[in-house]
Subunit: 160 residues, 2 copies
Amino acid sequence: MSTVTEARIEADPTVPIIRITRDFAGTPEQLFRAHTDPEIFVRWVGPDSITSRIDHWDARTGGSWRYVSTHGDDEHGFRGCFHEVRPDRIVQTFTYEGQPDSVALGTLWFEDLGNGRARLHTQSLVDSFEARDMFLASGMEVGVNDGYAKLDEMLGQGSV
Amino acid sequence: MSTVTEARIEADPTVPIIRITRDFAGTPEQLFRAHTDPEIFVRWVGPDSITSRIDHWDARTGGSWRYVSTHGDDEHGFRGCFHEVRPDRIVQTFTYEGQPDSVALGTLWFEDLGNGRARLHTQSLVDSFEARDMFLASGMEVGVNDGYAKLDEMLGQGSV
């Protein structure tokens, strides 16, 4: 099995979904913590050019979340609810507050690759191909790759 | 404009969405209450053959919900989270616990038709056409039409 060290970002040909696959030198339990512990999440999420802070975070089935990313004087809010949080799978909604009526349904799961490694799978579903393709054209891969590189570092330092 | 007294249930040809349109002799405010007040919701939701009870209900942005429908000795649970609850629009997730990994993202909005009438619009998005078409083939129109007929009656009685 080849190792996916750069995030693989794929647009589904038949449904408005973006799928991301990425391997990490960490266990499924560590990937779960990286996505549910707000102190850990806020340190790696997004591009290197931004800083994020948690506004609200309740990572359990039926909970909700909001964080704010700062880039110079610009602030951008993101929010959603947790439909399900369990060790092998997280389902949550996602809205960028700059486009308050756009909602994505995100599903994450963690595949154990053995030897302390795991593969992160994410799926993000929206209600039109236009919305999906605008997101793909927005430069989102910078945030994805910068964020996962920060998470790599944190895993290497034993801080996850 | 023609009046939609039987629910119009439509499968989108290009994305895995079911859209439902239905007119009511009630205001947008009443339709909002019918979908957010648990005492009202539980009296009309679903087919005539079932009885429902609320297990948990917190109809606000970031809240969550669960209800149980009983048919003879069978109990069926449904649950989700409220991504957004505002007077003109509700966005929520939806899972039937018999298929715990299937999740729909539902959006409802209320169009004022004037003269005390309103049109309900719903959109239900899932991640595959197979899941969408199985739901359409499940007899869901019985629950939809029975439920809205009960809501018609409750609006007529002034109990919404």
